[in-house]
Amino acid sequence: MALPSSESSSSVLRLTFLAVLVITLFLALFARLWFLQVLAGDRYVELADSNRLRTVVTEAPRGAILAADGEELVRNRPALAISADRQVLLDATGAPVNAEAERVIERLAELLEIDEEEVIERLGSQRRSPFRPVPVAVDVTPEVVFTVQEQRELFPGVVPETLPVRQYPQDTLAAHLVGYIGEVSQEELLDPAFADYRAGDLVGRMGLEQSYEADLRGTAGERVLVVNARGDVLDVQRDREPVQGNDLVTTLDLDLQQATEQLLEDGIIASRSIRRDDGQLLPSTAGSAVVLDARTGAVLAMASYPSFDPREFVGGVSRAYFESLIEEDSGDPLVNRVIAGTYPPGSVFKTATGAAMVEGGHITPRGQVECAPAFELGGNTFRNWNRGVNEGMMDLSDALMRSCDTYFYELAFDQWLAEENAEEPDEVVIDVAERFGFNQRTGIDLPGEIAGRVPGRQWREEYWLARRDSYCQQAEAATAGSRAEELFTDLCRFGGAWRGGDAVNTSIGQGDVIATPLQVAASYQAIANDGVLMRPHLGAEIRAPDGTLIRAIEPEEFGSLELSDQTLAVIREGLERTVMEARGTGESAFTGFPLDQIPVAGKTGTAELRPRVPFAWFAGYAPADDPEIVVAVNVEEGGGGSQTAAPIVRNIMAHHFGVVLADEAEFEAGDEILD
């Protein structure tokens, strides 16, 4: 270099500084590249794929739900809809992307006669997939579709389409059974069980729509498109046509279902004008009825009152309607009381406890016990329902016919004593009740079934352990010497003990026994079916859309009563006499019914749930000599079983056997005081 040496060294220094700076900058680039491409590369590969691949899903039409005779309960109908591409009209914040999009939304709102905000809200629904057009309006007129088609330039991103929509040809019939469908929720989408669901997919939410979801749903069509930055489709990477869901044929007898719903509702409403002994009208707040095939356990009809309108759920239920269904004084119309109503079964449980006493060896079927007015136990008086009359010696048949409580009290106490004295108590009531189908879910093909409860030592102990601290605290807090102190101190110390009183209460279906109407019906089905308990079911067949049989749902044995022929015969005799003998508790409700042609067997029940008005029960089967159907009815706060429930059962049977059809039937209350 021509520079003087001092200058030269300074110049080299400055060049070295530049070199260091340059190399630093290059190193920064290398490091960043290494991070992006090698360390974080996988993530960007995914992003590149999601850029270039668009999946367009075509929903599969859902299968229909049919009655046993093939009549449609639920089907699909094509509905004209106006959908719009969210990505064209809205930005990430949910606002219109530009002035043009704003104008499109404005026009759309005007065309559909809704607010612009409403359009934006529906369009922006996070429950909808962004990769397919979002329905803005379903069930629009053909004119609206025409307008959009003819003026495409005014409606960029808006597409008219035909969507399959649930339709209910039978209106509200069997609402609890068919259920409804709704969009899959955000939480469900995170659940592995919903792995093949996408945002916006419909899923069965209740009833058969839910339990047969896998059959009804079908397989959505899927086209995977390769698109460029402008959204032009360049290639189809995968194309799968939608496969329509299969049809579900149920065991429901459409005509009987209609009749059962009508007769239950009529009966409940009519009973509300009955005045009780105390002068009050019966509340009869709600009720349910179920009819089973006596041989197969197939559900022929099932009704729960009050009910709801599944049509309101089509295309998304309105907030107002849904709130009206779940508000406090709505009467819980969404609950199917047949499977989810939990009641003390009262006297309809006596078939099970009666059989248990024989099985426990305390009496033979024909052995007699005095039907005293009351049973004394440890200072407590357990009265018979008939208020003070001694009805003399009774065998099991008489006890069922007269629903004699003291017969069961006495035997239950004997059994309890035997259990107390045994090293390992054999709780025969629980065992036998379970053979009748209690204390467990029947496994019917409906979601939301409740297991009920038959209490015993283990249950009592667990129940007590969970509450002992509370009992002890209340005992401490109570006034010294008061009744409350005595009670809570006792509970605190000995509440875990299964006492004679518990056993006595359980024997008449009171105390802590809980059962659903379906369990009660199933237990009478087992009696009617010579001791073989069939699993109640609604599904009969799965058929392809073209009608070919995919799968038959065979009746399934659920259990066996394992009673001697004589025991079963005596129970059946008792049930027949209940209806057909003048002294029978159910006789009054069947006045005028042609029992000589169609003998009926059954049992009344009046379940106490103080301070509420008793719950009315009746369960029975007919014809008694060769049972076809089993019917069970429960009316919440409907008073006596013979008074309110039995007449409804009678009307259902009358309709089924063609004696009096539902349309002409009148609700005629039975005697009040009979249990």
Partner: protein, 392 residues
């Protein structure tokens, strides 16, 4: 000492022989830097492949031959090589003498760009159309400013006084302002940067450097406050930080995001030539010009990107070597300045595609599509060769 004619003649002949051998040894042509030239050509070749790949699908879709851009770039390459040879042949000291002329011509052209004769494209007025060719004078101006400032500092013989510094500043800020008005923020930054590096290398006193840096910072703040920088420029600058006005920054954010996806999804070895989905499906805008690096990084991965960066580093290395070997201050300054401009453009351009620098329109030297840029870069290679050849 007695001499005769014969001896004298013999001596003269010997001297002539030695001299011619010397001349042969020191003939400028014998001191070419083949590494420099081959590296530049190699980078240009890679650029041609990348341009072809970037526009293959898009051009086919428009019914144009896929070589549309490549052939134009090839023509520019031919011109560039010619320019390189011419620049290398003329002694660079002559270039120094004519630097003011080059400078004035550049300023006039920059002025023309802003006049109605200039051509606007995409919101910026950067070009002059000459007989079917688009000329981008701001690219030439880079070279002109570099040469004229280096000449001025050279004249002051290693001790630039305040007057010289001031003159350099004026000469730099004039084209900076003109380019800024186009608007082309990226290129106007190049002028400031190259002069700053020349001040550093040329021995401008530290207090001036500090003072200038401070006033530069204040200037930027004032520019931001007075909205001298247009909104779109500001939002582009801040978009990569995830800040700024949402709607205005969207384009830049989209570019950066798609660019990151392209680069990242290339992974270690790349997706293969013509297999880049981000590239072929046009997800990365301007991927034949400013975002050309995404094509290389997506299709050839970390390996390909590293090769390109390494080749650019080779140019830096040769340039710095030439700066050290140069026989005068002018040579050192020009070589160092070229290295500085190269580094800035590489860092800003690649940095932009990998999301560590804001989106500014600076081409990647030798690689990006753009005739003027390529020709000017070959002219700079010519200058480096020139300085290298005449280092004795």
């Amino acid at each position: 000492m007695a001499t005769n004619y014969g001896q004298d003649r013999e001596l003269r002949q010997q001297r002539a022989q030695v001299q011619s051998r010397w001349m042969e040894v020191y003939a400028p042509i014998r001191h070419l830097d083949p590494v420099l030239v081959l590296t530049a050509l190699g980078l240009t070749a890679i650029g041609l492949v990348a341009i072809y790949s970037a526009k293959l699908v898009a051009l086919s879709a428009q019914g144009l031959p896929p070589t549309t851009y490549v052939s134009r770039q090839l023509l520019a390459l031919a011109i560039g090589v010619l320019v390189m040879v011419v620049v290398a042949v003329v002694d660079y000291r002559v270039v120094r003498v004519y630097a003011p002329v080059l400078y004035v011509v550049s300023i006039v052209l920059l002025g023309l760009v802003l006049s109605p004769l200039g051509t606007a494209f995409g919101g910026a007025q950067r070009w002059i159309v000459l007989g079917g060719f688009q000329l981008q004078p701001s690219e030439m101006a880079k070279l002109a400013v570099l040469v004229v400032v280096a000449a001025l500092i050279h004249e002051s013989e290693g001790q630039p006084r305040a007057g010289v510094v001031l003159a350099c500043l004026v000469l730099t800020l004039l084209p900076t302002g003109l380019v800024f008005l186009q608007p082309d923020l990226g290129t106007s930054m190049v002028f400031v940067w190259s002069t700053a590096v020349l001040f550093l290398l040329g021995g401008v006193q530290a207090r001036y450097l500090v003072g200038l840096t401070l006033s530069g910072v204040i200037g930027v703040i004032v520019a931001l406050q007075t909205e001298l920088i247009q909104d779109y420029q500001l939002s582009r600058l801040t978009a990569f930080l995830g800040a700024g006005d949402a709607s205005a920054a969207q384009t830049a954010a989209f570019q950066t995001r798609q660019s990151l996806i392209a680069v990242g999804s290339g992974q270690f070895a790349g997706k293969g030539l013509f297999e880049g989905t981000q590239t072929s499906l046009s997800y990365v805008p301007e991927n034949h010009t400013d975002f050309i690096f995404t094509v290389i990084a997506e299709e050839f991965g970390f390996l390909g990107g590293s090769v390109v960066l390494a080749l650019l580093l080779v140019l830096v290395w040769r340039g710095l070597r030439i700066a050290i070997l140069a026989k005068d201050t002018f040579g050192t300054l020009v070589a160092g300045g070229i290295v500085a401009i190269l580094t800035l453009q590489v860092f800003v351009n690649v940095g932009m595609t990998v999301g560590i620098m804001p989106v500014t329109g600076l081409p990647l030297p030798f690689i990006s599509y753009g005739g003027t840029s390529l020709i000017v870069w070959f002219a700079m290679i010519g200058l480096l060769l020139n300085i290298h050849m005449r280092r004795f």
